[in-house]
Amino acid sequence: MKKESGFLAQFKDGIITNNPVFVQLLGTCPSLATTTNATNALGMGLSVVLVLMCSNFFISLLRKYIPSQIRIASYIVIISGFVSALELLIKAYLPSLSNSLGLFIPLIVVNCIILARAEAFASKNKVLPSVIDGLSMGLGFTFALVILGSIREIIGAGTVFGIQVFGSWYEPAVLFIMPPGAFITLGIVIALVQKLQARRKKYVEEQEYEKRRLEREAGIWK
């Protein structure tokens, strides 16, 4: 039971409280560039999930055999191996996705989320928690990308996942599909997340203050 709650905590950490894009601000480049529509964002996110799980698995498995002086080089070789394999598979079985993501699939190699998780988690933890960490961080990345992609697609094209949302009266604001729209959307979403987190923190602090005040009063009355 205790183990399960540990995994749940990992998921919550990866997707919400420590979201790689909105909170850790890692991997900003692909999250700006590949979120022109929700489908691309989902494709990119799931590719990262796959690479992150595979690389975390192998790095955690080999963590005792890789000397610390060459660990970064080894991690990069392992990660780039998986990314290249994934690129070939996507080209073969999902050619339309490979067309729309283009260069950003090979660029997953230098995506800092993957190296960060390898260095900060997989190289210090057992295999199973590392794979779960890869999954949860990857899902957090996917979640963030799909939110950004959906917002940009709805405003910039009037569709989401290619399905028409607004009627023909809607004149799409093309700016939102272009790079400036990416920055504007990411900025607003990060601001919202920060606001929500600050409010949550304030709420927790107030609760604690209230508790202490009650305790103090109770002490006086004694």
Partner: protein, 206 residues
């Protein structure tokens, strides 16, 4: 043997030990890195062997789809071997009932951001029967205007000379000029000039 000699010998021994340890260490890290790289290369070779044919047939399928919508009765295509000047990448013969109906030319002219993938259908007399865009990464809503039917269908019937008169799209000048350049390069291939002078009649060299 005096004391200082003994101390010197001891120091020498320790240094050589240290050197040996260093050497062992370097061998160890090199071998580890070599092993990891070799395993990764093995994985890639394996994935490549699975996906190679599929990727090649995907590219051919895109070509075949585009060409069969341009040529009525197209039932197969075949690569024409040869070296072509940029932006022409490849030339395919289009077959229908065993006869050559025309040609499909793959060109990749440089657009506003990156290369635009274009397939040009050319009949045996050297005039254009259709243009299709397979990949474009120009500005959405601006450069992508070149994908409009009205622009692309205007190329039909033009030949290597008359295509230079074709109007580009205002507001998408760079992208549409790139498409026009690609079509022009395709229509002006030596292959078609030879065919036209065989006495194919109108649409040939005037």
């Amino acid at each position: 043997m005096n004391i200082s000699n003994k101390i010197n010998m001891e120091i020498d021994k320790r240094i050589s030990n240290k050197k040996q340890e260093n050497f062992k260490y370097y061998v160890k890290i090199s071998l580890t890195l070599l092993l990891i790289s070799a395993l990764t290369a093995g994985l890639l070779a394996f994935v490549n062997s699975i996906t190679k044919d599929k990727i090649a047939s995907n590219e051919l399928a895109v070509m075949e789809n585009a060409l069969s919508s341009m040529f009525d009765g197209c039932d197969g295509i075949k690569v024409v071997d040869g070296e072509y000047e940029t932006p022409v990448v490849a030339v395919y013969e289009v077959y229908g009932k065993g006869e050559v109906l025309g040609y499909g030319v793959q060109t990749n002219p440089v657009g506003f951001k990156a290369e635009i993938g274009i397939i040009v259908g050319v009949d045996r007399k050297g005039s254009c029967v259709g243009v299709e865009i397979t990949s474009i990464s120009d500005t959405p809503g601006v450069g992508t205007k070149v994908q409009d039917k009205s622009f692309l269908s205007g190329f039909s019937g033009l030949n290597g000379e008359s295509v230079s008169e074709y109007d580009t799209i205002s507001g998408a000048t760079v992208s549409s000029r790139a498409v026009k350049k690609g079509v022009e390069a395709a229509l002006n291939l030596d292959l078609f000039k030879n065919n036209a002078s065989d006495g194919a009649g109108e649409g040939g060299v005037r």
